[in-house]
């Protein structure tokens, strides 16, 4: 758009309007593509051609199909009602297969119905026409086309009609890896919103050895999204295999996805591999927060393995866990603190922070002599640490916890503010924290339309525009009703399209009313007549009466050849116009002849 001269826009728009009337499939794709560049907002130009576009979609060339689909998607989004409003939430978890029968946990409805949409009486017939017209395009060999069709279905159809397109996406997983990556990205977004589309195709997302990491991560993500009670057994078995792989990164990613099956994780914790253990511990921590009961054994086990674990994240997590639940496990906490305090100076920053926290919590719950001394020792170490964060935390905890205790112990009296602080201390330090939600690298793409560059990159590319929202009130569809030729569309037919022949089809013929006097006066200058006729074209009604024809017949022939929009008749003085107009619609010619016959 930058390179197009804005002053030319109107002219180009008119040109495009003309070319839209062409019936040739070879031309259509390019016309739509230029339209999107020149005047993307002029969707009103499409009204008359909507049904033609739907019909010709199948025969256009591949890249043309993509452009047309994009345009029709935007048009449809603005013109039809959302098919999902008011739909009952009877989750249909299985596709409608007329011949096979699935056993399925969630399906309520019988799947005997035909392949048409769920509630055909609610979809506007033009809307349904579009969906039907796109169906065959799923067979295209061009993966781009298939993806565009899927995008269209996803955004336009009722919820349960998307199974066929989803299946087509699965087929695309056999492509080379760059294309596979794009397909998987789109599947992730779709699965986030409608996971039931892909549930029966889980096996296609299992990982192969040697797949590049970006594909692997996407597939694992999808598997995680698709997990339900029914298939989680199969998925977990797969994951068990993945974590045995010697590829560390893959193992780490797998663990991040898993949020069930504690037993497998615990087995991993005792494994020697450090990264594995680290991730396992982090996940365990999250899980423990979710199910706080019966954790004692787990936490004990974790604290025992603290000795061997060297990864900082893991140690920090364990320490935090112990601190959080120190009320339930009073025996090991002081010992853990002791061990940690010994190694304090060698630890990394996050671990040191956690040790401080641990000490504070311990002292909070159980202010015995030894604990206080231990905590004091740790605080002193923290006071001279290189990292300002730790010094700060040390100071903070000291003021909050340590000093009041020491003072209270020494003086034996408690000030009022101290008491307040003390009672609230527990709450400050030990309140239940919400479990951290794992960061999802693939979240947040829903705001972009599927199958766009913005979607892949997860940020707005230049020229990206969101699809319009569904309208609240159904716009009038009568603009799409046009007179159509009774053509039998046949693929083998040679389509030749002289423009003149076609200009009469979409619009009803315009009549002009010109005075007989005017004609005689202006016969020398064609230009003024043209101007007159142009003005009057705008004012006309569609239906003229027959009486007006007599006068018009003789007037119009001179303007016809210059005008784009059509006047209609054959009668005329000049021979050349007669021959050029003979290509016109026979019916209208006849009418004119009849009218002529009545002329005196």
């Amino acid at each position: 758009m930058k390179s197009l001269d804005p002053s030319q826009k109107d002219q180009l728009t008119d040109l495009i309007e003309t070319m839209l009337k062409d019936n040739s499939t070879l031309v259509l794709g390019s016309v739509i593509s230029s339209m999107c560049q020149v005047c993307p907002d002029r969707l009103d130009l499409i009204h008359k051609h909507y049904r033609k576009l739907c019909r010709l979609l199948v025969d256009a060339d591949e890249w043309g199909q993509i452009e047309i689909l994009g345009l029709l998607l935007r048009y449809a989004k603005g013109q039809f009602l959302d098919p999902n409003i008011g739909e009952k939430t009877a989750v249909v978890d299985q596709p409608r297969l007329p011949s096979k029968s699935h056993k399925d946990f969630y399906s309520e409805e019988d799947s005997g119905a035909s392949g048409s949409s769920c509630s055909p009486n609610r979809l506007d017939p033009d809307h349904a026409l579009l969906l039907r017209a796109c169906g065959p395009l799923l067979f295209s060999r061009n993966p781009s086309v298939v993806l565009t069709v899927v995008k269209l279905y996803f955004h336009l159809t009722p919820a349960d009609d998307c199974f066929r397109p989803a299946k087509a996406l699965i087929r695309l997983l056999g492509l080379p890896r760059e294309e596979r990556h794009i397909v998987l990205l789109n599947i992730v977004t779709m699965a986030q919103q409608r996971p039931e589309l892909f549930r029966s195709h889980i096996r296609h997302f299992f990982l192969f050895e040697g797949e590049p990491s970006f594909i692997r991560d996407l597939k694992l993500e999808i598997l995680g999204l698709l997990a339900t009670e029914a298939n989680v057994g199969a998925i977990m078995r797969e994951f068990k295999d993945y974590v045995r792989s010697p590829d560390k990164a893959m193992v780490v990613t797998t663990i991040q996805v898993v949020d069930e099956a504690m037993s497998v994780l615990m087995a991993l914790v005792s494994a020697r591999d450090e990264n594995v253990v680290a991730e396992a511990v982090v996940v365990t921590r999250r899980l423990l927060q979710l199910t706080p009961e019966n954790n004692t054994r787990t936490i004990v086990h974790l604290s025992k393995s603290l000795d061997e674990i060297t990864i900082a994240m893991a140690r920090a997590s364990i320490l935090w866990l112990i601190g959080q639940y120190c009320e339930t496990i009073p025996k090991i906490v002081p010992d853990t603190l002791r061990k940690a305090a010994k190694l304090f100076s060698n630890e990394s920053a996050i671990v040191k922070l956690q040790i401080l926290n641990l000490g504070a919590k311990l002292v909070c719950t159980d202010a015995s002599e030894i604990n206080v001394l231990l905590f004091g020792y740790v605080l002193n170490l923290a006071k001279f640490d290189l990292d300002y964060d730790i010094r700060d935390r040390g100071r903070f905890l000291r003021a909050l916890v340590y000093d009041p205790l020491v003072r209270a112990g020494a003086q034996g009296a408690e000030g009022r503010s101290n008491r307040l602080l003390k009672t609230n201390l527990k709450q400050i330090l030990l309140s239940a924290r919400p479990p951290p939600m794992p960061e999802n690298p693939y979240a947040g793409r829903e705001r972009y339309t599927l199958a766009t560059i913005s979607h892949c990159l997860n940020q707005s590319a230049e020229g990206y525009e969101n699809l319009p929202d569904w309208p609240l009130v159904k716009p009038d569809g009568s603009a799409r009703n046009v007179e159509e030729f009774e053509e039998r569309w046949n693929r083998d037919r040679v389509i030749s399209s002289p423009v003149k022949e076609l200009k009469f089809q979409p619009k009803k013929p315009k009549k002009r009313v010109i005075d007989l006097n005017e004609f005689y006066n202006s016969s020398e200058s064609e230009d003024s007549e043209e101007e007159n006729s142009d003005d009057q074209d705008d004012e006309e009604d569609d239906e003229g009466d027959e009486e007006g024809d007599d006068e018009e017949d003789t007037d119009e022939e001179e303007e016809d050849t210059e005008q784009e929009e059509g006047a209609t008749d054959e009668a005329g003085d000049s021979e050349e116009e007669l021959t050029s107009l003979q290509k016109n619609d026979q019916a209208q010619g006849l009418r004119m002849v009849n009218a002529e016959g009545t002329q005196p």
């Binding site: 065959p136 096996r203 296609h204 299992f206 295999d241 974590v243 010697p246 087995a267 494994a271």
Partner: protein
């Protein structure tokens, strides 16, 4: 580009830069992809020939096609009019690739066959072809895709392909079939791996199965051994095996394996692995994870799809019709 130049490499691109640039220009119209069909492109930009290269070098002549695209374009953009051959022939190839993951217990985790129907048509005029399959039920609903020349509605109704072929080599259709049982897989590998302190033992057996009594050719089994393997002692009763120290890759090249192998003697590879430092193997890490198998089986399709008949209409001659099929391995992996 392989159509135009043969195998593509950096040197090839540099030599034929002009044509590559012309191709790009035709294919992309101001950033939008425009014509990507190879047959149409060949009309507009002729492939390099010795003569044109000589002329270019000598007299700076341009490389444009000597005839413009003829004004009388046929209604069918993928086939020009006026094609003539003395021998009319049409060849249909079914090429299948099998992707499979098999569990350590021999159970199938996932298996998929990706097939293509490739066609080489050397027919004159504007023939109409009808290709029908013997067991079209193998093809599932959305798992097929066609060349634009195929008429969809006839396929949906009768499951036959009705089309006017482009000239030359082209891909008519591709399809995806999921296999459900391990019995239909053409090759069965039984691995056993045993690791101990300092040494390990590896056994791999290779058995063709369900190949329809066809020979398995170019069979190669490769395993990536863990990085602490120092040396390997191998013994195979069929083919050669080698171990690459750098990449720790073990390759067993079997060559041709006939399906009567179970009678004459199952190909078996036994090996002793020696590790660098003898330490206790870790319990939960599997050092050898997958075994990759490559093979090729001629005249056999793993999915079972077969061509029934190929009829030609609208032309008076009788062409020579050739049909063949081949099954290749895609990502065929067995987990240990």
């Amino acid at each position: 580009m392989t159509d135009y130049f043969g195998p593509v490499s950096e040197l090839v691109i540099k030599e034929n830069f002009v044509i590559v640039y012309e191709l790009l220009e035709e294919m992309l119209d101001y950033g939008n992809p425009y014509i990507t069909d190879p047959s149409v492109l060949k009309d507009l930009i002729p492939p390099p020939s010795i003569l044109s290269t000589v002329i270019n070098a000598v007299s700076l002549g341009t490389n444009f096609g000597t005839k413009l695209p003829s004004g009388a374009m046929s209604s069918i953009p993928w086939r020009s009019t006026g094609i003539k051959y003395t021998n009319n022939e049409i060849f249909v190839d079914l090429v299948e690739e099998v992707d499979a993951i098999i569990d350590r217990s021999g159970k199938l985790v996932t298996a998929e066959v990706r097939g293509e129907v490739q066609c080489n048509s050397r027919l004159s005029g504007m023939p109409e072809l009808i290709l029908s399959f013997l067991n079209h039920r193998v093809l599932e609903d959305c798992m097929v895709s066609f060349h634009p020349c195929v008429r969809y509605h006839r396929f949906e109704k009768e499951r036959i392909l009705s089309f006017v072929p482009p000239d030359g080599q082209f891909k008519l259709m591709d399809y995806n079939v999921s296999l459900t049982s391990a019995q239909t897989l053409p090759v069965y590998i039984k691995p056993t791996l045993f690791m101990r302190k300092g040494t390990g033992k590896l056994d791999i057996s290779f058995q063709p199965r369900a190949t329809g009594s066809k020979i398995v050719e170019s069979a190669v089994v490769s395993v990536t051994l863990p990085s602490n393997v120092s040396s390997v002692k191998l013994n195979a009763n069929l083919g050669q095996c080698s171990f690459d120290q750098m990449s720790k890759q073990l390759r067993w090249t079997l060559g041709k394996v006939s399906p009567e192998a179970s009678v004459t003697g199952i190909p078996l590879l036994t090996g002793q692995l020696y590790f660098e430092n003898s330490e206790e193997p870790q319990p939960n890490v599997q050092p050898v994870h997958t075994i990759t198998v490559d093979f090729k089986i001629n005249m056999h399709t793993c999915s079972g799809l077969r061509v029934d008949s190929l009829q030609l209409h609208h032309e008076p001659y009788k062409p020579y019709k050739g049909v063949r099929s081949v099954t290749k391995s895609g990502r065929y992996q067995i987990r240990v």
